[in-house]
Amino acid sequence: MLNVSSVTLHAVDGTPVKMVAKPGGLRLVYFGYTTCPDVCPTTLGFVKMAYLDLSKADQDRVDVDMISIDPYRDTAERLSKYLALFVPSANAIRTDDPVELRTAANAFKADYKTGINFEGKREVSHTDDLYAVDDAGNVVLAWPFGTTQPDFERDLIRLLAGDRPPTDEPADSSAQPEEG
């Protein structure tokens, strides 16, 4: 299982954000950029809807992080403003240090690429998974884009209830069904 506890980034207000959830909680981590009007808002929109459906107690257990893979355009102000549309309590995370960003992405096995295309326009590519990290820093689930909102929300609720997806280890005694 992927463990990302070695990653600590910073929110735009300077607060260090370590990729480990609160005890008994979850971090929902997304790598994206604010200029994306399509994939990123869809995913963050799902997070928003699911988050709002949680009880206050459960909301307190969940931290939402967006890490910008386009810090060139995503200033602190822009990133905060963008995230406020979704989950106001989310951490707007960006770094101007390209190595720090790449190291963090590699830990999640996320990838991104930014540059200028032949037409002189800025072009950004990125993997679009949403990650759920537990309080040990394990990535317990990664939802690819295309996951429906109801599936995502159901998974989130199950994760918060302590369920975990089936693993390769036979010792895992979680009771959920193996197949959908």
Binding site: M1, L2, T34, T35, C36, P37, D38, V39, P41, T42, L44, G45, K48, M49, R78, K81, Y82, L85, F86, N106, F108, K109, A110, D111, Y112, K113, N117, K121, E123, S125, H126, T127, D128, D129, Y131, V139, V140, L141, A142, W143, P144, F145, G146, T147, D151, F152, R154, D155, R158, L159, D163, R164, P165, P166, T167, D168, Q176, E178, E179, G180
Partner: protein, 213 residues
């Protein structure tokens, strides 16, 4: 209401589509006589007598856009307009879109695609949980958190093919009409007038409802 040139969507040669809309339509009409008619036999919406008549003379010749919606967003950010387009009685292409009010710095047609390049950079790992379902109850349910997912990116496209009688969806993750750099907030419940330009059918006006994500 006049639309400033800044609002005209860029197409391959950046010509002002709106003014040429009628002319393009007329030229395409003639082209349509030759090219647009091959599939009339299978075409669900084709008028049986219109195999070689000008498409825009029959009532349902135009492509029709339904379920037109835009994402709520704020000033300075981008947004996207989505819809379902059902083809008319002949093949057509969506070649442009503008908002009727100057809401954004630019309006472009975009597609989210898989970035084909740089396989070396994409880490290959164990699979994610279930591919398109990604649900804990789904097929694979691994804990790998791996990025088997490819990278995605957006790119501007010159056109979207709208086959006669076919349905093309502009939906999240695929095609969308992108509104770049909004001048003001788009709030849930707002309505946005959008004029779509089709190569053959010319301009079609629609209203996009602003929705929450």
């Amino acid at each position: 209401m006049t639309i400033s040139n800044e609002q005209i969507v860029k197409v391959s040669d950046a010509r002002p589509m709106r003014r040429l809309g009628v002319m393009v339509g007329a030229v395409a009409l003639l082209a349509g006589l030759v090219t647009g008619c091959g599939s009339d036999g299978d075409d669900k919406t084709a008028d049986p007598t219109s195999t070689s008549s000008s498409p825009s003379t029959s009532a349902n010749a135009e492509p029709v856009a339904t379920d037109v919606w835009a994402r709520a967003s704020t000033a300075g950010m981008n947004s996207a307009v989505y819809m379902k387009i059902t083809g008319g009685s002949s093949d057509d292409e969506l070649v442009g879109a503008v908002t009727d009010e100057p809401l954004a710095e630019a309006v472009e047609i975009h597609e989210t695609v898989i970035d084909p390049g740089d396989e070396g950079d994409t880490p290959s790992t164990e699979t994610t949980m279930g591919g398109d379902k990604g649900a804990m109850g789904g097929d694979k349910g691994t804990m790998g958190g791996g990025a088997d997912s490819p990278m995605k990116k957006m790119q501007e496209v010159d056109k979207i093919d709208i086959p006669a009688g076919g349905t093309v969806e502009l939906a999240p993750g695929g095609y969308h009409v992108m509104l770049l750099n909004l001048g003001s907030d788009l709030k849930v419940g707002d309505s946005i007038g959008v004029t779509l330009t089709f190569k053959n059918a010319g301009e079609v006006k629609v209203t996009a409802e602003v929705r929450e994500m």
